[in-house]
Amino acid sequence: MASRLLGIIVKEFIHLRRDMLALVLALAVPVAMLFIFGWAINTDVKHIPTAVFDQSGSLEARLFLEAMVNSQYFELGRRATSQRELTRLIDSGEAKVGVVIPPDYARRLARQEASIQVIVDASDPQVATSALNAATSLGAQRSLEVLTQTLEGTRLGRQPQPPVDVRVRAWYNPDLVSAIFIVPGLIGALLMQTTITAMAVSVVREREKGTLEALIVSPIRRWELLLGKIVPNLVVAFGQMTMALVVAHYVFDVPIRGSLALLYALSLVFMMGTLGVGILLSTASRTVPQAMQLAFLTFLPSIYLSGLLFPIEGMPTGAQYLAAIIPLTYFLKIVRGIILKGVGFGHLWPSLVPLVIFGTVVFSLAVLKFRKQLD
C-alpha cells in the first residue's frame, strides 16, 4: 500500500518538476495578484480631477478650494468661466467633479447661509463615493470653522465646543489602507483557485491520456490514487500561501496578528471542500480545457460575492443569500480574523462550522462520484 501511494506522489512531483512553466506560474501568480489587487486597486479614490467655476473670486472661496486640495481627494485642474463650460468638462471626462461657487458666497457665509454646489460624475460609483464623502466632510468642517470664528467674535469669549463630537476610531486598519483588507482575502481566493484547478486538471489529464485506464486495471485503490494526488497539491497550495503571506507582510506591511498555525490548520479544512469541488469537476469534464472552464465558473461567484472585493453588507438580499452558501465567504472571515484581528478559535468557530459541513459533504460526494465513474 505504501509503495502504491508513494508511486503516485513521486510521479505527481515529477510532473510538477517537468512542467516548470506551471510551477513558476503557481508561485509567481500569487505575488502578481497581490501586487495588482493590493497596490493598483484602491477603493479609496484620491486626486480626483476637479473643475471649478468660481463666480465669487473671494478670499473665502479660495480658502475653501485650498481645503479641498489639502484633503488630497481633489486635484484642481481647469477653471471654468461659465456653467456651460463646467458641464462640458464633466461631459468630456476631463473632470470628475465640478465645484460651483456662487457670486455672493462671501456675503452669505458671513450670514451663515452660504452654499456651494458640488457636481459629481457618478458613472463611476467608486469615484463618486469618495468625492461625495470628502466634499461632505469638507463642508462640515468649514461650517464648524466658520461657526467657531463667529462665536469667538461674540461676547461669550471662551473656547467654543461643537455640540456633538463624534470620534471615529478605525480599528485593525487605522489608516484604512485597502491592501490590508484585500491581501488576506486574496490568500483565500488563491488557495481556492489552485486547489480546484490543479485537482481537476490532474485527474482529467490522466483520463485524456489513457493512463487512468491503466491505473484502474492496476491494484491501486481509489483512495490511494486520490490521496496521492491531493498531497502534492496541498504542498503547492501551502507553498503559495506562504509566499503570499511573506509578500503581504514584508511588501504591503500587512500585520499578522494571529496564530499562523491556526491559519494553516483551518486552511486545510477549507481546502478539503475545494479539493472536493476539483474532483467533482474532473468527473464532469472530458478534456483539460473543459475542466478549466468549469473551474473558472466556480471562481466568478466566489470572487464577487464572497466579500473579497465588495462588502457583503452592501449587496441586495438575494446576493447575500448566495454569499452565505459560498465557502470562500466563511474562509475570508477566518483569514481576516486571524491575520488582521488576531482572534482565536473561540471567535472563528461560527465560520468554521459551515466550512466543515461543506467540506465533508462535497468531499464525500466527490469521492463517491469518482469511484462510481471508474467502475
Partner: protein, 339 residues
C-alpha cells in the same frame, strides 16, 4: 508474486460468462479457455463484446451471470486479487509523456508493488526486453510509435505477471514495428507467459496459438488457426483474375453456388458454397458468360474468411465491411505482409 494455478493448466477459464447492460446482452454465455503459456487471439469486430469480456477478466466489471477463473482466482469472488497478478496494456499505451522511460517503469513497478530490492533488476530486464537500452533517460513523449508500444508492454510486464491482456496493442503502429512487436510477444509466450491479445488484423491472428471468435457477445469458434481452417471451414476459397473484373464480379455474384464475391485489388476472391466445385468449373462458367478469364486458382482461406463463414449469409457483407473498415482505420498492412 504469482502463485501456481491449482490443478489446472488453464490461465483463463470462463463458464457461461454473461454481462448485460439493461436489456442489451454484451457478452452472452461465453465459455473461454486459454491454456497456460499460449498466445491467444481474441477476435471480433467493434461492439462484439471483446472489451466487456476483457473488463470482466481484469476484475473491473462484475458478470451478470456465470463466472470463471483467472490464474485460478475466482473472478466473481476476488476480483481485486486478480488485478495484482495480471498485466494489462491498452491501445492508448497509458504512458506518462513527461516521465522518462525509467520513471514510467518505476512508477508501474511501485503501483504493482514490486519489492524495492527487486525493482532495479526488473526494470533493467524490461529495458532490455523492450530494446530500450540507452533510452532510459528519454522522455516517453519523445519516443516514436514502436518504442512507445514496447515501453507500454514493458510497463505491463514490470511486475512479472504470468498472464497479460493486450488490448489492440498494434493499432496505429507502423508495419515494421508491428512485426517486431509480434516477434516480441511470440517470444514471451514461448518463455511461458500467457498472452491474450485482441486485434482487428487477420494476418496477426494467424500468428496466434489459439483463436477465439466473438460475435454479438457469443464465442462462435475457438481453436488453433490451422485446425479451425481444416475442420470448421469447409468452403473452398478461390482467386480469379479476369480482364474485366467488374463484369466477372457481376456474373459470379449471380451464380447461386458462390457464397461471396469480394474484390481484392485487381483480383476477385470467391467463397464457394459447393465443395465439389473446381477452379476449372468457375473458369468455364465465366467463359460461357463471355468474360475473358486469365486464371482461377484455389487459395488458403484467411482468418477473415473463417470469421465471416461463421456468420449467416445476409450478415456476411456487413461484417466484411466492418472488418475492412477496422483494418483500414488502423492503417497499413500487417506483420505477415509480403509473405
Amino acid at each position: 508474486m504469482t502463485e501456481p494455478v491449482p490443478g489446472s493448466d488453464h490461465a483463463v477459464i470462463t463458464r457461461a460468462l454473461t454481462r448485460r447492460f439493461g436489456h442489451r446482452v454484451a457478452v452472452d454465455h461465453l465459455d473461454l479457455q486459454v491454456r497456460s503459456g499460449e498466445l491467444y487471439g481474441f477476435l471480433g469486430p467493434n461492439g462484439a463484446g471483446k472489451s466487456t469480456t476483457l473488463r470482466m477478466l481484469c476484475g473491473l466489471l462484475e458478470p451478470s451471470e456465470g463466472g470463471g477463473e483467472v490464474l485460478g482466482i475466482d473472478l466473481v469472488a476476488e476480483p481485486e486479487r486478480i488485478k495484482s497478478v495480471i498485466g494489462y496494456m491498452s491501445q492508448k499505451f497509458s504512458l506518462y509523456d513527461d516521465l522518462t522511460v525509467s520513471e514510467n517503469l518505476t512508477f508501474y513497478a511501485r503501483v504493482y508493488m514490486v519489492p524495492r530490492a527487486a525493482r532495479g533488476p526488473r526494470i533493467a530486464r524490461m529495458v532490455q526486453l523492450a530494446d530500450l537500452g540507452g533510452r532510459e533517460g528519454q522522455l516517453a513523449g519523445t519516443l516514436s510509435g514502436g518504442y512507445r508500444q514496447r515501453l507500454a508492454l514493458a510497463c505491463a510486464l514490470v511486475h512479472g505477471p504470468r498472464l497479460v491482456f493486450l488490448d489492440e496493442p498494434t493499432a496505429g503502429v507502423d508495419p515494421v514495428s508491428r512485426r517486431n512487436f509480434w516477434g516480441l510477444i511470440r517470444r514471451l509466450a514461448d518463455e511461458g507467459t500467457t498472452i491474450l491479445v485482441t486485434t482487428h488484423y487477420m494476418d496477426e491472428a494467424e500468428l496466434c496459438d489459439t483463436l477465439g471468435f466473438i460475435y454479438q457477445g457469443r464465442l462462435i469458434a475457438q481453436g488453433a488457426p490451422a485446425s479451425i481452417k481444416s475442420t470448421t471451414f469447409r468452403q473452398p476459397v478461390m482467386e480469379v483474375e479476369a480482364a474485366d473484373v467488374r463484369r466477372a464480379a457481376d456474373v459470379l455474384a449471380d451464380w447461386e453456388v458462390i457464397e461471396e464475391v469480394q474484390r481484392v485489388g485487381t483480383r476477385l476472391r470467391l467463397v464457394v458454397g459447393d465443395r465439389q466445385l473446381a477452379p476449372a468449373d468457375v473458369e468455364r462458367h465465366l467463359t460461357l458468360a463471355g468474360v475473358e478469364t486469365r486464371w482461377v486458382q484455389e487459395v488458403e482461406p484467411s482468418v477473415e474468411d473463417l470469421f465471416v463463414s461463421f456468420v449467416d449469409k445476409q450478415r456476411k457483407a456487413r461484417l466484411r465491411e466492418q472488418l475492412r473498415a477496422l483494418a483500414l482505420s488502423s492503417e497499413g498492412g500487417g506483420p505477415g505482409e509480403g509473405r
